[in-house]
Amino acid sequence: GAGVSQSPRYKVAKRGQDVALRCDPISGHVSLFWYQQALGQGPEFLTYFQNEAQLDKSGLPSDRFFAERPEGSVSTLKIQRTQQEDSAVYLCASSAHAGTQYFGPGTRLTVL
């Protein structure tokens, strides 16, 4: 596709449920990023992949958060035992080896 796509666009989960958020980066982009954007805030870095290698996961807020990119293309962000404070928009971005990050539309997660 022409841009970064994310699915689902909206997700409502009950507290304690597990969720999986998908990101399809721009074809050929080596690097992939996940960000979390809380209401009224700018995006905050979660994790970074270069191909299939997760090079930085320093932004993941707890061990309930897990991300993978097994074949160096599609990535999944998984949140286990969701809590209300996990409610946010989760953004995925991709970029070529050295360049601008292009963002997807995000997944809005609401935890009830």
Binding site: Q41, P43, F45, Y48, Q101
Partner: protein, 116 residues
């Protein structure tokens, strides 16, 4: 750790007014600087970027930004705004040179409302 400050939370202008949105960052080393825009209902889009060279950068839709290293600033400007510029604007920075591909630190954003 880096931080990015956008001092204006909400700016309201009339069409044809001039715009300047402030952005200051905390990191003292080499940085790459970006302005992203998010129009209502749309995803984040790159407006302009600075990696090196001429500190006055021109972007899409008539926007420009000036990197002033001594002030750690990268303010966004437009001489005459349009109603269609209504959006949220985010300043962002990452470390490194040559557009190195690493995590961005964002400001909290400035909501711009342009009244017709």
């Amino acid at each position: 750790a880096q931080s990015v400050s956008q001092h204006n939370h909400h700016v309201i202008l009339s069409e044809a007014a001039s715009l300047e949105l402030g952005c200051n960052y905390s990191y003292g080393g080499t940085v790459n600087l970006f302005w992203y825009v998010q129009y209502p209902g749309q995803h984040l889009q790159l407006l302009l970027k600075y990696f090196s060279g001429d500190p006055l950068v021109k972007g899409i839709k008539g926007f420009e930004a000036e990197f002033i290293k001594s002030k750690f600033s990268f303010n966004l400007r437009k001489p005459s705004v349009q109603w269609s510029d209504t959006a949220e604007y985010f300043c962002a920075v990452n470390e490194g040179s040559g557009g190195s591909n690493y995590k961005l630190t964002f400001g909290k954003g400035t909501l711009l409302t342009v009244n017709p």
